[in-house]
């Protein structure tokens, strides 16, 4: 069974950016915040590129509409110009690509490096519900209760087909599938409720495979957690008697 680890650590990092915000001691980097920031940057990037191309094309369309001449008279490109028109733009585009890749990589590490001290919950997905098992044995269905201010790690697998555990508000999603264990983590900060929904087609009730992340104040969570754990233990005990 694959362990939770960042394979990236093994990849030579010198190639791209170095000063990445790797989670460690100190403040925990929140992927959701990083996502919003990178999204904005990327949006500006592609908008500028799009506008440049569109503006040039629109200008040509206006400027060279058919008027006096019946045919175009394009300049003959010299060999240097022809090569230049291929190589220079290629390098400009590549520069942008590597910049975006570096940024993406930086955020990727945040997404895939689980901070110390995360609350680890096991998720079994099945058509069409989410089943969470806590370290103390507490079990919930379609309701992930977590304390505010502590990262949460989900180790996921599936009992039947592929599902995808998606929490839009925390900008995280990872498939759960039979025969493999995958993971994701997120960082709930304030008490509140967030939608969990299934993002991988899984048949009839795919669109109804929804649940909630309920972020609770730490002490409220603690109380609930202990009670739920005791209840689970009691059930296990009585279940044991029956057998």
């Amino acid at each position: 069974m694959p362990e939770v680890r960042s394979v990236l650590a093994a990849v030579p990092t010198g190639l791209l950016v170095a000063g990445a915000a790797v989670a460690g001691p100190g403040p925990i980097a929140d992927p959701a915040v990083g996502w919003d920031r990178l999204w904005e940057e990327m949006l500006i990037d592609i908008t500028v590129i799009g506008l440049v191309f569109a503006a040039v094309a629109a200008w040509f369309m206006w400027r060279y509409r058919r008027r006096d001449r019946a045919e175009g008279d394009p300049p003959r490109l010299s060999a240097t110009a022809a090569v230049g028109w291929a190589v220079i733009p290629a390098f400009v585009f590549m520069a942008d690509d590597f910049y975006l890749a570096a940024k993406g990589w930086e955020l990727w590490k945040v997404y895939r490096t689980v901070p110390e001290g995360a609350l680890e919950v096991r998720l079994d997905s099945a058509m069409w519900s989410w089943n969470y098992t806590y370290p103390n044995g507490a079990v919930t269905v379609n309701e992930l209760r977590v304390p505010a201010g502590r990262p949460v790690l989900l180790r996921m697998t599936s009992r039947d087909v592929v599902h995808s555990h998606f929490i839009p508000d925390f900008r995280v999603k990872e498939d759960s599938m039979p025969g493999r264990i995958t993971y994701l983590w997120f960082y709930p900060k304030e008490p509140g409720e967030h939608v969990v929904t299934c993002a991988e087609y899984c048949g009839l009730l795919h669109s109804r495979m929804a649940g909630k992340v309920i972020v609770m104040a730490p002490d409220a969570f603690e109380a609930w957690y202990r009670a739920a754990g005791q209840k689970a233990a009691a059930e296990a005990a009585s279940g044991g008697e029956e057998v």
Partner: protein, 527 residues
């Protein structure tokens, strides 16, 4: 009448085979479009609208995706356009293997028939066009028809590939060098190389699916030593390159239209062909993991393919420069095909650039399988690709039918589809950023996107109106249009200068003879 019907059913002529492809693929488009309308109506409001059975929706969506990609776009581009244009453009009297060509079109039709069976069989397939196991091997739906549809269409495509690569290599008019080929011919060459390498992979993958479900093998059954990710990797190993099988020919024909109506040489031809097409060919097979960013494949694969995916923007960017550059110092006339071609330019820009956030693995962790993805690929494929195909049909209309369509009606159809497409697919992307997942029959968890969903439904009706206007224009033009001259656009390419409209059997009354230095884009040099 009987004789003419036979001469169509038994034809081996590339032009007629091409038109048979066109009819089949437009039928697929229309029916898959009707499915889209049903889906749109169903999604208008939260809760059931026209069906309370999610299964109906799933089957519509399965058919919509599979038929649009495998039944409409790929056959329209590599079947209809390749068949109609390539032999004419290279000055050949037919393709290398006319009978094989006929077999290929009828296998395609067999695939269409099988896909249409979806609507009459019990337990129709409901596996989406991606057919992921283990769902595809567990469902009650008829996964066999999914596999066989893919196999028939795939085999048809392989025959086409063998045929066209041989045709272009051996049947060019005497004196036509590789650097004198139309850009479109190049795009077909590259598209078919991609098909030949990757289609067999998909064919084998869906065969394994078939074996797993019905013959008990365990390729994708983890409980018995298999692995579900094998299928996903194989599927995308084909299906990403497949998007370039769509992209290259549709850009190729856009180049032809733009060069013709700008009466201009293609800007930096060698950069377009070797840099653009060649670069896409080189990168096409190394990026499939960008569809698996959330699927738990090893991290080094995900990050590595983020880089290769982003690099695709380099050759594609060169293609965009070539296209915009072809306008430079041209003499642009705005007729219907040209409007569609410029539409391709703008929509592809939006669609291609919205591929960038998906390509950035960390951003995709939120976007994957939300409406942002359909937003991206509808722009790049459903809108830009369809516009290229519509533009191409208008462009070749005089050649194919010997008659003219109506210009004003054509432009009306263009503007309706143009507006409608934006009304559907812009809100779709915004709904995706809000988190609305794909393939949802209902979206009670996302009340905030209901307004956008309604706008999309309105937009779909506008597209429908545009498509009907276009269809009417074609039918009317084909039956009643004014007779068309051999070269109504004043193009320099062989299909217009050396063949009458429509071309007779054997294409060229006189085998074309090329003067030294001949080019399909020799504008501005005669006068």
């Amino acid at each position: 009448m009987g004789a003419t019907l036979r001469s169509w059913l038994f034809t081996t002529d590339h032009k007629r085979v091409g038109i048979l492809y066109l009819i089949g693929s437009l039928a697929a488009f229309a029916i898959a479009g009707v499915m889209a309308m049903l889906m749109r109506i169903e999604l208008t409001n939260i809760g059931p609208d026209i069906t309370d059975n999610p299964q109906d929706y799933n089957v519509w969506l399965y058919f919509h995706g599979a038929a649009m990609i495998l039944g409409f776009q790929i056959p329209a581009l590599t079947g209809f356009l390749a068949n109609y244009c390539v032999p004419l453009m290279i000055g050949a009297r037919d393709v290398a293997f006319p009978r094989l060509n006929a077999l290929s079109v009828w296998l395609f039709w067999a695939g269409i028939v099988l896909a249409l069976a979806t609507f009459v069989i019990p337990d129709p397939p409901d596996v989406m066009w991606t057919g992921y196991p283990p769902y595809a091997t567990m469902t009650w739906g008829n996964t066999a028809f999914y596999s066989f549809t893919v196999l028939l269409l795939g085999f048809s495509s392989i025959l086409g590939g063998v045929n066209f690569l041989t045709t272009v290599a051996y049947m060019r008019a005497p004196g036509m060098g590789w650097n004198q080929l139309n850009v479109f011919v190049w795009s077909i060459v590259v598209a078919f190389i991609i098909q030949l390498i990757f289609v067999p992979v998909l064919g084998t993958a869906v065969t394994m699916l078939l074996f797993d479900k019905y013959l008990g093998t365990t390729f994708f059954q983890p409980a018995n030593g298999g692995d579900v990710l094998i299928y996903q990797n194989l599927f995308w190993f084909y299906s990403h390159p497949a998007v370039y099988v769509i992209l290259l020919p549709f850009l190729g024909i856009t180049y032809e239209i733009v060069a013709t109506f700008a009466r201009n040489r293609v800007f930096n031809y060698k950069m377009v062909v070797y840099g653009g097409f060649g670069g896409v060919l080189l990168l096409a097979g190394e990026v499939w993991v960008h569809h698996l960013y959330t699927a738990g494949v090893p991290d080094w694969l995900r990050v590595g393919q983020m880089v290769t995916t982003l690099l695709i923007s380099v050759p594609v960017g060169l293609l965009m420069i070539g296209l915009v550059g072809t306008l430079y110092r041209g003499s642009i006339e705005y007729r219907t095909p040209m409007l569609y071609a410029l539409g391709v330019l703008f929509f592809f820009l939006i669609g291609g650039l919205t591929g960038i956030p998906n390509a950035i693995a960390s951003l995709d962790l939120h976007l994957q399988d939300t409406y942002f993805i359909p937003g991206h690929f509808h722009y790049v494929m459903a809108v830009a690709g369809t516009f290229a195909i519509f533009g191409a049909v208008y462009y070749l209309f005089p050649k194919m039918t010997g008659r003219m369509y109506r210009e004003r009606t054509g432009k009306l159809g263009f503007w309706l589809t143009f507006i409608g497409m934006n009304l559907v697919f812009m809100p779709m992307m915004i709904a995706g950023i809000e988190g609305m997942p794909r393939r949802y029959y209902d979206y009670a968890q996302f009340p905030q996107v209901e307004g956008m969903q309604q706008l999309m439904t309105v937009g779909a009706f506008v597209i429908l109106a545009g498509a009907l206007v276009t269809l009417w224009n074609w039918l009317h033009g084909a039956l009643r249009g004014e007779p068309a001259p051999a070269n109504p656009w004043g193009s320099r390419s062989l299909e217009w200068t050396a063949a009458p409209s429509p071309p007779p059997p054997g294409n060229f009354p006189v085998p074309p003879r090329l003067e030294p230095g001949w080019s399909p884009y020799a504008y501005g040099e005669r006068a």
